[in-house]
Symmetry: C2
Subunit: 301 residues, 2 copies
């Protein structure tokens, strides 16, 4: 019988979601950074859930306040990729009974601080006993109905760009990154990206996902990929947990977009790294063996 | 340093939620069955999250379809206790890489089937590696803004009632119960309960919670508590996982309510089990040592 390690994360999700039928008020379901549900005339509701697991996403040596910070920041990053605004959060905590209460209190302090910074209300949660510490965050928010962004409307010819620099996040940035919320909204207003997503599992994994969702292939200019100091292209390509934005935009707007961006965000680069191409050209969006797969890396299998 | 086992679940939640500030659009936050957020003029949004953990809520011997069924049913039960309607669900799955994919597929089949029965859309989710299997479900829904129910508006003199029969759910009912969704909505229209909640951790734990939230004490008529066949009062009191509704209603309406209920739900009893009384009388709503506490029962501490 095949195990999770055999089939990997993306195949698992496709398999589990097979046969899920959605009502007409669901505009986007599983497969994008957030689900999108029709709400009022001018606004859609965004929904997202995410989990942090001890010894996978953090260890008990990680400063607890940063664990909490990361738990919230990761989800905010998904709202950034939709051009949306997070509003309400719920927290599920699974922990062993032997766990030090002060450690948990510090985790929650980290969550509360970042939630406050982004105007997010922590409205509820759930606790349960478990073998190891696990945090699951679910969040709801809004996006103007005319401006929500997906990862699936990229077109052959679109230019690929990334915000910031990639690679080496394990040295600490994975705990301290600033989600690109303001940038996501700015891009939705100023660049109208055909496709956009946040880079959580690494460009190696997430760029093919964007291309696959858009029904295109892609080309990448290896020399152009902006690497963090001390990082090689391989690290920028495969490390993951960058939480930068990857987007595909109409080639005609790139020239005017870049100076506008520099004016709005002088300290954060926005870099052209490649383009989407028709199926048959460039790289096919599958059979990529780097980037992070939650199940394929199976030390504990 | 105190551990979770030392302070227990309710104290932990109060401690973690200290300092959480909520915007004015949040009508009810942590502490009720669902959070309540202002949405449109006529409707509020309900938000709920819940987790099922291997070897706590189920084992790998449990039929996987029933694990999935229970994961959804537990959350639906919380919407029942608000007089609301669940609409959209997100699923977080944590599993070891060695896990059989077919086992997971069956869990999702159980979830999909129950979701379909209650008109719930599964709109997204998240997967991660972990030591044991864990499911976290978050759900959003709606309630008419004039008719949402809480557990905190009970008044001294209110009559306490429960739906169905209690105790012995571990024999199988904890996997197969029907959430009282229709009954919750019916009660919100016909009984206008001052306080209502679902009995998930056992009457021993949940009745004091309702009284505490309402600022009252309570009296219970032990002989009147409806026990499942083969169960003692102690089991009905302490077992938990009944997923029946516990409610406090104005004493003046009880006489007319009971026949109306029998007509609407001829197969499901609605039973008077006691009343709320002023502080100083009856039982104080704390220092209760039965019922289920996720952390105090610490075999693995």
């Amino acid at each position: 019988m095949p195990t999770l390690a055999d089939i990997g994360e993306d195949k698992l999700i496709r398999k589990l979601m097979r046969g899920v039928k959605l009502d007409r008020d669901v505009i986007a379901g599983a497969g994008d950074d957030c689900a999108v549900v029709r709400s009022t005339k001018n606004e859609h509701t965004l929904l997202k859930t995410d989990a942090l697991v001890q010894d996978v996403h953090f260890t008990l040596e990680t400063p607890p306040k940063l664990i909490g910070r990361k738990a919230i920041a990761r989800v905010v990053s998904d709202f950034a990729a939709m051009g949306g605004t997070p509003r309400h959060a719920m927290i599920t905590l699974v922990a062993p009974p032997s766990m030090d209460v002060e450690f948990l209190t510090e985790i929650y302090r980290g969550m509360r601080n970042l939630a406050k910074q982004y105007g997010i209300n922590i409205v509820g949660g759930e606790t349960s006993r478990g073998l190891v510490l696990m945090l699951s965050i679910s969040m709801t928010g809004t996006v103007p109905s005319k401006r929500w962004l997906s990862r699936s409307e990229g077109k052959a010819g679109d230019i690929l760009l990334v915000t910031g620099r990639l690679g080496g996040s394990i040295k600490g940035r994975h705990l301290k990154f600033e989600p690109r919320l303001e940038q996501g909204r700015w891009l939705s207003e100023n660049a109208h990206p055909h496709a956009i997503m946040d880079i959580s599992d690494g460009l190696a994994k997430d760029l093919p996902r964007l291309a696959l969702a858009s029904g295109t292939h892609y080309e990448i200019n290896v020399a152009a990929v902006p690497c963090n100091r001390g990082c090689t292209f391989d690290q920028a390509w495969g490390d993951g947990e960058d939480y930068e934005l990857l987007l595909a935009v109409n080639p005609r707007i790139v020239k005017s977009l870049l100076p506008k961006w520099r004016e709005a965000f002088p300290k954060l680069p926005l870099t052209v790294i490649g383009r989407l191409v028709p199926p048959g050209q460039g790289c096919p969006p599958y059979a990529v063996n780097s980037g992070w797969d939650h199940f394929a890396l199976s030390a504990d299998a």
